[in-house]
């Protein structure tokens, strides 16, 4: 299937981040169409009917999310752009921010128009120095050309954007922790309900959307919901999607494909297959580090929200991690667990205490001090974290632990039985 890139159409062109290049390729025509032809309510309906689902990880219908805003206008509404992309193995938003910021910006403006918001916040991961610089420049350019400011393109609608840099905490990508961080507080997720659509930034109704989601809004603005809804695997998995591939893959990177592309096709045809011909696929996490792992035997899946859910994992942020047979699953999980223990905000008990405990057990297993009961203990701890935390971070550590142990229990038990990592032992390390 020949697929014309949509989200990455400008990526690779020199100077693609400048507004002139964007305008030359037909940029901001979608926004003009929206401002001219749609009332805000009608554009919300348009996005609803496009079937667009959030690209940040949860896959919730974007139009429906917008529809949760209260009708009244006693308080201002805010749009927060979640550009705090920090999931290990996920680097798609960064590409858009750095290579085609105006595609994102156009989506932000159209979305702000739809939800009748006049102030948007762009919360960008602190380490994205270049992305921050590029996006800031894009905002300034848009201001200068009348795409931002008081009266955008003579429509009477106005929007300003405030750039805000995170300070290096993964948890601030969680939408309510992001709000706390924006408010200048410690990045602690809030208890939901109330949901941000009702009580969000500074207590006001707030919509938080992912960068890629907003880039998709630009596409809908340009060519309409009907066109968009035909892409991918309608009716529930529509539109193009950016897929990250990293790990033991020949050409790691970001690939664009319609939702529903087979994982093996993406891996073998687009990314050139496994990095080492002698070491075939052992397992993959198609959705990103917080999602469940699939052993090679289960990797023949379609990459979309519902297919992956049916396969027992999740699309997440589509940060696919590929592992070949040279990978120690215990070591891979330890690596992951270290990340989550380091990034746990420490607010609620199960995640604060549980993540550190998991790391210590995995360290022992990998070091050769494991006990047989540790394998069951890992899964049990994960089970006691899952569902009992303030925010989805609990699942982000529980799901990998649970699935790694479930799918590769034998390998864990071998660590305990041999009092060593079998792969290291084989390598003489």
């Amino acid at each position: 299937m020949a697929f014309e890139p949509l989200l990455t159409r400008n990526v690779g062109r020199p100077g693609s981040e400048a507004i002139d290049a964007y305008l030359a390729s037909g940029g901001y025509q979608g926004l003009k169409r929206v401002l001219r032809e749609f009332t805000p309510e009608k554009f919300v309906e348009e996005v609803k009917s496009s079937g667009l689902r959030g690209r940040g990880g949860a896959g919730f219908s974007t139009g429906m999310k917008w529809g949760f805003l209260p009708k009244g206008r006693e308080k201002p509404r805010y749009l927060c752009v979640n550009a705090d992309e920090s999931e290990p193995g996920t680097f798609k938003d960064r590409l858009l921010i750095e290579k085609d910021p105006h595609l994102v910006l156009e989506g932000i403006i159209a979305s702000a128009y739809a939800i009748e918001c006049n102030l948007a916040f762009f919360y960008i991961r602190g380490e994205f120095h270049q992305g921050h610089r590029i996006f800031q420049k894009a905002v300034a350019e848009a201001h200068a050309r009348g795409y931002l400011g008081r009266n955008i393109l003579g429509s009477g609608f106005g929007l300003d954007i405030i750039m805000y840099r995170g300070a290096g905490a993964y948890i601030c990508g969680e939408e309510t922790a992001l709000l706390e961080s924006l408010e200048g507080k410690r990045g602690y997720p809030r208890i939901k309900p109330p949901f941000p659509a009702l009580v969000g930034l500074y207590g006001c109704p707030t919509i938080i959307n992912n960068v890629e989601t907003l880039a998709n809004v630009t596409l809908i603005a340009e060519r309409g919901a009907a066109w968009y809804a035909a892409i991918g695997r309608p009716p529930k998995n529509t539109g193009p999607k950016l897929f990250c591939l990293s790990g033991h893959v020949k050409r790691p990177g970001v690939y664009e494909a319609p939702l529903g592309v087979p994982f093996l096709e993406l891996l073998n045809e687009q990314a050139g297959g496994m990095a080492h011909p002698s070491r075939p696929l052992k397992a993959a996490v198609p959705g990103g580090s917080s999602m469940k792992i699939l052993p090679a035997s289960k990797c023949d899946v379609l990459l979309d929200f519902d297919s992956l859910a049916a396969a027992g994992t999740s699309l997440g942020s589509a940060g696919g991690i590929v592992m070949d047979t040279g990978t120690c699953i215990v070591g891979a999980l330890l690596n992951l667990a270290r990340f989550y223990a380091h990034e746990s905000c420490g607010q609620c008990t199960p995640c604060r205490e549980g993540t550190g405990w998991l790391v210590q057990i995995l360290v022992r297993l990998e070091r050769g001090d494991g006990r047989m009961e540790d394998v069951g203990l890992l899964a049990d701890i994960a089970g006691r974290i899952e569902g009992n935390t303030v925010c989805p971070f609990g699942e982000a550590i529980a799901w990998p632990v649970d699935s790694y142990v479930k799918e590769f229990r034998e390998e864990f038990e071998e660590h305990a039985r041999r009092k060593a990592c079998p792969l290291r032992a084989a390598a003489g390390r």
């Binding site: 008990t349 604060r352 550190g356 006691r384």
Partner: protein
């Protein structure tokens, strides 16, 4: 003789535990409908009013006001949902996860503290799923906990202990290295912090943010290295810092004056009222072997909510730092202590070397002498020759009998109450008026505390117009401008006080009264609320409640009433003083009652906490 050991502990809820019936206690609502075999009947929901919500918790129907949480509804139904971070006086944090309960139609367990009760909700607080999660939370909280219970002041009133007993698995599967944190960290003026015991519930942080509004505490670091701390150069030092220790559900924050003083299970908690200022915070006096070891706030939403100030908390210190006198003291000639003549020059009236030979007669003779001196002064100087300075630190009963005995019977023409003011009213509890019963004195007809009226009496003393002066509970020589020489001309200086003040040493007759915590009585706070002081200690020697000394003095002036107990005095006050009309000593209970004749006035009278 060694003090008798009490075999009957007085049961009162420990200050750090919620006063909630134990799980399994009978519900106040309708009993669960009789279950038919095979098909357990769902109990019918009771009728709820317009602003109410009816729901089922563990098959118990309960009706709560709209907006109440599941945890509060359960409490109302007599079901304890265990919790650490939730505190009714602060915002909801939802971080401990101990109160997770199962709610029908919700796939995940929900925290009871933050989930609003909704009509028809069906809640399970004690099924296997909930129990499993609780055991898991307990295990998580304890993996990095030092388990140093034997040397922990909180032991015995620690929620980790209590919940481990009730909900824990009783053993840990944790064999790793524990995270190390600072111990015995000096976090503030009066509070010590053990970060290893801390469960990061953030109650203390929220207290400093929301109640004391001093913002000293915050969380630092992340994950299992998260630690409560202060900012550089800003230790925990606010007038309410002790409340952080109260709200700490574990032994992480300890109160320096109480550290290692007593095992809490030996403490008897006696409900009383702080006498440190006009607020009258409700407190528990924690007593062991006839000594107060701790004073901690007792919840009363109409007065102090859950809080009290640090000064009040340690106000009992004076009991142990000031000298007492255990027997009546008499002096032949009124005189100020001269150089070389110490307090010992005052001679206890004692005839037998055995102090217990005729205690009653010692006291009687002192009272006889006092009455005689007052009569003589009045005879020589006429009706305005007698005056009294009366403290607003005395109870309603003391003051009533002072007025009746001194004013009505002994012919004391003027009774003045000196003010004790310091600083300003603050945003929370502390009142400028540092006496617990100024309002009571006012309602009993003493007028508002007045330095001018005291001054007038003292001027008359200096001029010789006042020949007999009765001082009740005040240190005359501490009143600004009063010198011993001024009172040298007095022919009768009668002092009743709980400690051996310099005034006691120059009195003709001094009678020892009970100190704080040693007597029973009532006081009226700045809001016009009458509250009970309860006796927690046996007074030393012959110290007696002031009202009883006054009663016995009154008998020398033809007082016929018996006044067996403060109760009798108070009920007479209620019958005779219009402002107190309708009150009843027994009905005051632990939380007191507003005085009908004293509408709460001004900002000073406003409740400490808005509902």
């Amino acid at each position: 003789m060694a003090e008798p050991r009490s075999c009957e502990p007085r049961f009162s809820p420990p200050p750090h535990q919620p006063n909630v019936p134990a799980p399994g206690a009978a519900a106040t609502g309708a009993a669960p409908a009789a279950a038919t075999p095979g098909a357990p009947a769902t109990p019918a929901l009771p009728q709820a009013g317009p602003d109410e919500v009816a729901l089922l918790i563990d098959d118990r129907p309960v009706v709560v006001r709209r907006g109440a949480t599941v945890l509060q509804a359960a409490e109302k139904a007599g079901i304890l949902v265990p919790h650490y971070c939730y505190h009714p006086g602060m915002s909801i944090a939802g971080n401990c996860r101990m109160c997770l309960v199962e709610i029908e139609k919700m796939p995940k367990l929900q925290i009871g503290c933050a989930t609003a009760a909704t009509p028809g909700m069906v809640v399970r607080t004690n099924n296997d799923r909930v129990k499993g999660v609780r055991a898991g939370i307990q295990e998580f909280l304890l993996i990095n906990h030092p388990l140093d219970c034997p040397i922990c002041d909180q032991a015995g009133e620690c929620r980790l202990q209590a919940y481990e007993k009730d909900y824990g698995r009783g053993e840990s599967r944790f064999v790793e290295e524990k995270v190390r944190f600072p111990k015995r960290y000096d976090i503030g003026r009066s509070v010590l912090f053990d970060a290893e015991r801390c469960i990061k519930c953030t109650r203390c942080v929220r207290f400093c943010d929301e109640v004391s509004r001093s913002h000293e505490l915050a969380l630092f670091s992340r994950g299992d290295h998260a630690i409560i701390g202060t900012f550089p150069g800003r230790p925990l030092d606010n007038p309410y810092s002790g409340c952080t220790v109260d709200v700490c559900p574990v032994g992480a924050l300890t109160w320096k004056p109480f550290r290692f003083k007593a095992r809490v299970w030996f403490l008897k908690n006696v409900p009383s009222v702080c006498a440190g200022c006009a607020r009258g915070c409700n407190v528990n006096l924690a007593v062991f072997r006839n000594r107060i070891h701790r004073m901690a706030p007792r919840p009363n939403l109409d007065v102090n909510a859950y809080w009290m100030c640090d000064a009040g908390r340690q106000s009992y210190d004076s009991l142990y730092s000031r000298p007492r006198f255990e027997r009546p003291v008499v002096r032949a000639v009124p005189a100020a202590p001269r150089a070389g003549e110490s307090a010992a020059a005052a001679r206890p009236l004692r005839e037998s070397p055995d102090p217990r030979a005729e205690p009653a007669s010692l006291r009687d003779r002192a009272l006889d002498l006092a009455a005689g001196l007052l009569r003589e002064a009045a005879r020589k100087g006429g009706p305005r020759a007698l005056a009294a300075i009366v403290s607003a630190r005395l109870s309603v009963e003391d003051l009533y009998l002072a007025k009746r005995v001194l004013g009505d019977l002994a012919g004391v023409a003027r009774l003045a109450v000196p003010p004790h003011e310091e600083g300003e009213d603050d945003h929370l509890l502390i009142r400028r008026d540092r006496t617990p019963n100024a309002r009571g004195a006012e309602l009993l007809g003493f007028g508002a505390p007045s330095a001018a009226r005291v001054r007038e009496i003292l001027d008359d003393v200096a001029a010789g117009r006042v020949r007999g002066l009765v001082v009740l509970g005040e240190d005359l020589l501490a009143i600004p401008g009063v010198a011993p020489a001024m009172v040298e001309r007095l022919e009768a200086l009668i002092v009743i006080d709980w400690w051996r003040s310099p005034t006691v040493d120059i009195a003709h007759v001094a009678l020892p009264a009970c100190g704080y915590g040693e007597f029973e009585g009532t006081v009226v706070n700045c809001q016009g609320r009458v509250q009970r002081l309860r006796p927690a200690l046996r007074p030393p020697g012959e110290a007696d409640p002031a009202w009883r000394i006054l009663r016995d003095l009154g008998r020398r002036f033809d007082l016929t009433n018996e006044y067996a107990a403060p109760r009798a005095v108070f009920d007479e006050v209620a019958a005779k003083v219009p402002a107190f009309a309708g009150l009843n000593f027994s009905a005051l209970g632990d939380l007191g009652a507003p005085v009908p004749g004293a509408p709460a006035g001004g900002a000073a009278g406003a409740p400490a906490v808005e509902a």
